[in-house]
Symmetry: C2
Subunit: 320 residues, 2 copies
């Protein structure tokens, strides 16, 4: 008899978490419950989930006994916790082990990169992956590359400004680094497949809709919009300088979240364009499976699919 | 046309390194050169390698340019550096990348365990594996479990004392933890196969001759020797206390290599018997390939093969 898998989702109101919640609901294969911290329990976004009839667990992440209660009977724990709170997942892992959760999907959902030394964000995630392996609990790490939603150029006409959080007007280095890209809305659709798949157990998986360089993205955007783009150029040295400056700023003020965001963003650029980590080749070297290859029946949105929508005024600004 | 692969071996005069050198020489598939540090260059053990006609490179491990020279034209770099000097491999990795080495086998050759947090020795090895992945150079990690040579019980008759470095008279916990074991002499034979195998590229592999619990080992030893064994019992709590004591001793005197050895030994016991890490099941979870399965044509020595030799007076004390 088919029975739905029970999922507990942490971070359900963030960009990644919302996509995951939608993907799980769309598939129909899951009973989803949501874990929020008490400070968020009355936010309108959480209230909307409650109104959908989703069970909400409001718990502190250091309340071990309550976490065990919430996790009892859960098949799959998925964490899309925010970047500043990654290390708060540790008690949750221990509780999941005790509760007998069958698969933990820790907060990954970023670009492909080395386990240590290239990105602060990735280094902290690695600490969690190591804690998982120390406990010996079943897991899957899912990375998604960079989102289409923050990877397309600003047009001179101003036509796509409505959907951009910051203007994108430059190309990094020679613009030729290939980048793994996924439509944010497909993240959850991929996750819904990945977490039911024995082949992905205790493995790393990356999703992708397209793999494109900046040169290719700008060319497609010109072709599809009919507008001429004249990107400025950011050299590898410029990127290295930005990383150093962000590092110095954080060292000066280590508890300021904005300074951490400065590090994340500059290190993303460094990893994607200078080191060129976010590529299928490096992912393969690191042992990742390709979700696109695992699920040939699923057609993720291509960058062109996405950009048609943006040009038609149907884009949506992330982090809005 | 078949041509021999060129190997540069570091640590060739240690127990693991000697086994690897023998294994590579036995196979006939390799031209082996050896890297030693100048402080060791005139040791009798190095002199013996020289007399065999092996090319010896005498270099400091922080002399980047010389390392690049030694590594130019090398197909495979194998490091069996001692446990206290693991972090000294870092410049070597960079030099190997520049020289275009096709596979790096960093110093692993221990039991299977989690990447972080269970054993100081493993934690430092992980730092090197992370440095390899940061550089993106091709690698293979080879672990071997524990050696038969230090895993068999002392007999009441005193018959095997000649080949033991310390008496083995106790069983840990309930004695039922399965342990991956390899004959030290087979380490090199496995390595000679592993480093020529595309399937092991950028993977972790464990070798094994047998997988046995202490209860099984003691039973086999009784049966083969005809002697009655009355092992004492070491509880998990005893092991945990020993680890704590060793940790405190090292904290008190962090630069004393003997204090580090105290940590290594107690953490080996903790990992093998309390955590029960050194098992095929946990190795599989961590993504290791089994060398025994990869090479069904190769028959590694079984524990019985080994113990027959020891009983016949043909054993050899390690670290002698």
């Amino acid at each position: 008899m088919f029975s739905k898998k029970k999922v507990l989702l942490l971070g359900a109101t963030g960009e990644t978490g919302s996509s995951i919640l939608n993907g799980l609901q769309e598939s129909g294969d899951f009973d989803v419950e949501v874990l929020v911290r008490p400070a968020s329990a009355n936010k309108p976004s959480v209230q909307r989930l409650r109104e959908q009839g989703i069970r909400i667990w409001s718990l502190e992440l250091d309340d071990y006994n309550e976490l065990v209660s919430a996790l009892t009977g859960v098949d799959i724990l998925i964490s899309a916790i925010g970047p500043h709170d990654l290390l708060q997942q540790k008690k949750l892992l221990q509780a999941a082990k005790l509760a007998g959760v069958k698969r933990i999907v820790p907060c990954a959902f970023m670009t492909v990169g080395p386990p240590q030394g290239a990105m602060l964000l990735r280094d902290e995630k690695e600490e969690i992956y190591n804690a998982i392996k120390f406990l010996g609990v079943p897991y899957t790490v899912v990375d998604v590359g960079y989102w289409y939603q923050i990877s397309y150029p600003t047009l001179p006409s101003g036509k796509v400004d409505y959907a951009q959080i910051v203007p994108v007007t430059a190309i990094h280095g020679d613009g030729a680094a290939p980048n793994i890209l996924t439509d944010l809305r497909d993240v959850g659709r991929f996750v819904a497949r990945i977490v039911l798949d024995d082949r992905t157990l205790n493995r790393y998986v990356y999703t992708s809709g397209d793999v494109l360089s900046e040169n290719e993205i700008f060319r497609i955007a010109e072709e599809m919009s009919g507008e001429k783009l004249e990107p400025s150029r950011i050299t590898n040295e410029d990127i290295e300088t930005s990383v150093e400056q962000a590092r110095a700023a954080l060292a000066h003020d280590p508890h300021d979240p904005m300074k951490r965001i400065g590090i994340y963003l500059t290190q993303y650029e460094h990893s994607k364009y200078v080191r060129q980590d976010n590529s299928p080749e490096y992912a393969g070297y690191l042992g990742y499976l390709s979700a696109k290859k695992l699920y040939p029946d699923f057609k993720p949105k291509t960058f062109r699919d996405f950009f048609v929508e943006v040009l038609a005024g149907k884009g949506k600004k992330v982090y809005a």
